[in-house]
């Protein structure tokens, strides 16, 4: 079993896959990136570090299939770094309320169906 599936399995047993148990520290924002800059803009994902932490706390830890079937892939995202279990990782949060955490040995996916306030509020 890979580390990724082991993490997902553990998470699935805990609190319905909520990511709030994840040990995330030292969240920093590095940059905004858009593959469609006319349509997906910085205002669509204008979150600060505190809101990024809130996103990962509120979002569900999901597998790739759920990410594909139940969420929309936004062409713009905020990216930065954080520490997950003392390991330096890269995170991305996309305008469609999905996120990724890439660590040297694993990649975690997140989706939030209840984060409209973070994204729609960000654009105002």
């Amino acid at each position: 079993m890979s580390l990724r599936s082991a993490l997902f399995g553990v998470c699935a047993l805990l609190a319905g896959c909520s990511s709030s148990q994840l040990d995330l520290d030292d969240i920093r924002i590095s940059r905004f990136h858009s593959e469609e800059p006319e349509r997906c803009r910085p205002s669509d994902v204008a979150l600060d570090e505190r809101q990024i932490a809130s996103f990962f706390k509120r979002a569900a830890l999901i597998d790739g299939r759920t990410l594909h079937d139940e969420f929309d892939w936004a062409p713009c995202y905020l990216e930065g770094t954080l520490k997950y279990q003392q390991t330096a990782c890269v995170w991305r949060v996309r305008a469609g309320a999905t996120g990724e955490i890439e660590c040297p040995a694993t990649e975690l996916y997140f989706g939030c169906k209840d984060c409209g306030d973070l994204f729609e509020g960000a654009a105002q």
């Binding site: 349509r39 892939w73 469609g96 990724e100 990649e107």
Partner: protein, 200 residues
């Protein structure tokens, strides 16, 4: 050479029939287009297990070794396109969009934009818009999503089977190469999905 029986199943030595009525959702009134997907699963069996309990799926599935399975009748609708259609006029020829309406939609936040564009696109007929569940067949290729940019490369045997299947479906439904799309072309999906598929 294949034929389609009264149940909408493709009859050929090259196709194994493995129908899952759990992924069929009412009648498909016509087939105007084909949409190529990747499963994000390591084997066909993983996807079949998912089809037993889940509502989403596609009409055909091609295993890594090139084996072709028909998983739903071509007379039935499957949920394979996704929630929101992309705008075909914005992607291919902006001059054919209603510029005032599209301009007002593009002023919205991204999440509101994709809903509004979907409503706008669904007022059009195919081929002015991208295909929907109601007028297209889905073809899944077994292959895992690797990272934020890539899926597994489609195998040579999958490409060969996909070419044959697409050619047969072209004949049965009078389609042209312009009527074949990859999933991320028409809906907001991982850009790597089916990006290495070849059908011509």
């Amino acid at each position: 050479m294949s034929s389609i029986d009264s149940e909408g199943m493709l009859i050929s030595d090259r196709v194994e029939l493995r129908r899952f009525q759990t992924i069929e959702h009412g009648d498909l009134l016509g087939v105007r287009a084909l949409v190529i997907h990747q499963t994000d699963a390591p084997t066909a069996r993983h996807t079949f297990n998912g089809y037993l309990s889940k509502g989403n799926g596609a009409h055909f599935l091609i295993e890594k070794d090139g084996a072709i399975y028909q998983t739903a009748s071509v007379k039935k609708r499957c949920y394979h396109v996704g929630r929101y259609l992309r705008s075909k006029c914005l992607a291919l020829d902006k001059a054919t969009c209603d510029s005032r309406q599209v301009q007002s939609i593009q002023a919205l936040t991204w999440t509101l934009q994709i809903r509004a564009l979907d409503r706008y696109e669904r007022t059009k007929d195919y081929p002015e818009r991208y295909p929907m569940n109601a007028d297209s067949l889905g073809i899944e290729l077994v292959g895992k999503h690797l990272d934020a940019a890539r899926y597994e490369e489609v195998t040579a045997m999958q490409k060969q089977s996909l070419r044959w299947l697409v050619s047969e479906l072209h004949g049965h439904f009078r389609l042209t190469p312009k009527d074949v799309y990859t999933h991320p072309q028409i809906s907001y999906k991982h850009p790597g999905e089916a990006s290495t598929a070849e059908w011509q």
